[in-house]
Symmetry: C2
Subunit: 236 residues, 2 copies
């Protein structure tokens, strides 16, 4: 069989950005690195791509290993390949972006990897170009959540509209008008009223909704607009 006349050594890694939402803040899953170089420092969860696995399979492997979760929302973000991004060797890293329902994760697995959930505004400096990866992932989350219904991926199966609003307020770090938010959400037809009520509340109990998964898939590509205009970089 033909082989390409390539002699350079460029390694191929995968790094994963895993977002969760605890009802108040967006959190990021970070690990204390357990190999050289930069051992002991904070970084994203990553690993080298195996010769027999597809990129998405590699990402799923890394995320499953860390969280015990399968079948979650994952997309490829971007590939980082600056020549000196890894001081040890030329390594190109394909970065994946994952959204999980935080209470579903396997906290034992997280602990075993020296990993922690850290609020975005409290995150430590990370190794290599991982800070840049995270910044870009946050920007992507904001961008995408304004256009597509991906917020649900961060919430439990049953959720209330006030919960959903807190999520969007956390993503955009800005207060939203309750009434307009609720109207917009309900008008999408993506929410199914389960009839039951939230018991966590100390005051009036909110209605629990679930996602209409069939419509969700149908409408995924439609443009939403949950980012308030004031957050848009420039008004037209």
């Amino acid at each position: 069989m033909y082989r390409y006349p390539v002699t350079s050594r460029i390694l191929l890694a995968i790094d994963c950005i895993v977002f969760g939402f605890d009802g108040k803040d967006i959190k990021l899953l970070l690990v204390k690195r357990n190999l050289e170089p930069e051992k002991g420092k904070w970084s994203l969860m990553g690993g080298f791509l195996r010769e027999e696995e597809d990129l998405e399979v590699g990402a799923a492997r890394i995320i499953f290993d860390l969280t015990g979760l399968n079948n979650i929302y994952v997309e490829q973000l971007e590939t980082f390949g600056k020549v000196n991004r890894d001081p040890a060797e030329r390594t190109v890293s394909v970065v994946f972006f994952a959204l999980i329902q935080i209470e579903e994760h396997d906290s034992e697995a997280v602990k075993n990897h020296n990993a922690s959930w850290i609020s975005l505004d409290q995150r430590p400096g990370l190794i290599f170009d991982h800070d840049e990866m995270v910044s870009q992932a946050i920007e992507h989350l904001r961008y995408k959540a304004a256009l597509h219904p991906i917020g649900f991926e961060l919430l439990p199966e049953l959720f209330t509209i006030p919960q959903l609003q807190k999520l969007y307020e956390a993503i955009y770090n800005t207060p939203l008008d309750r009434r307009n938010f609720s109207r917009k959400l309900l008008s999408t037809g993506l929410l199914i009223d389960t009839g039951s009520k939230n018991n966590n509340s100390a005051t009036k109990k909110a209605t629990l909704y679930k996602l209409d998964t069939i419509r969700y898939k149908e409408k995924f590509h439609a443009f939403w607009n949950f980012m308030p205009d004031s957050m848009k970089p420039v008004k037209l």
Copy 2:
């Protein structure tokens, strides 16, 4: 210096999708492959990443080599890495997406690479997973052009509103209302009236505009909405 204990061989390639617009159709720059395997078949322009170059530098090198153009609109699209995508060897390819002003390109360079400008609807089947790459690039062009002012990258420096409209009609393969289109465009404040008129027309001459590059950069992230509602997968 530390080296990673990686023994697998995974090659890293770059493939470039170059779009142009001839005033009527969106065109794609394709080459007849001159190396094994699949020699002689149509493919995207690509090459292996060099050990001493950044990803974007590699992409710029490949595009410059093919078109003689520098400083054009390039963005990373996605990385393709299915295990058997290249029958010769495990190769992961980072795909770049470029928009050029078609009349600026170096047609000698294109000819020397056995390359041609081909309309989207007449493109031949491509090698490996290049068809999938192109489909995704078209989708990306449609998506992005609906939200950001990237259309200008495909037009000459001076252009008319009817030209711009034909471009958007080509991108979305759908007719647009002249009057509403014009109003929307002018209301962005991105167009500067140069005062002169287009001489190519056999009837009334259209006003030539140029892009307000300062505002363009400022407003790039703002959301546009030139994709007609009817093209949106589902109305909300």
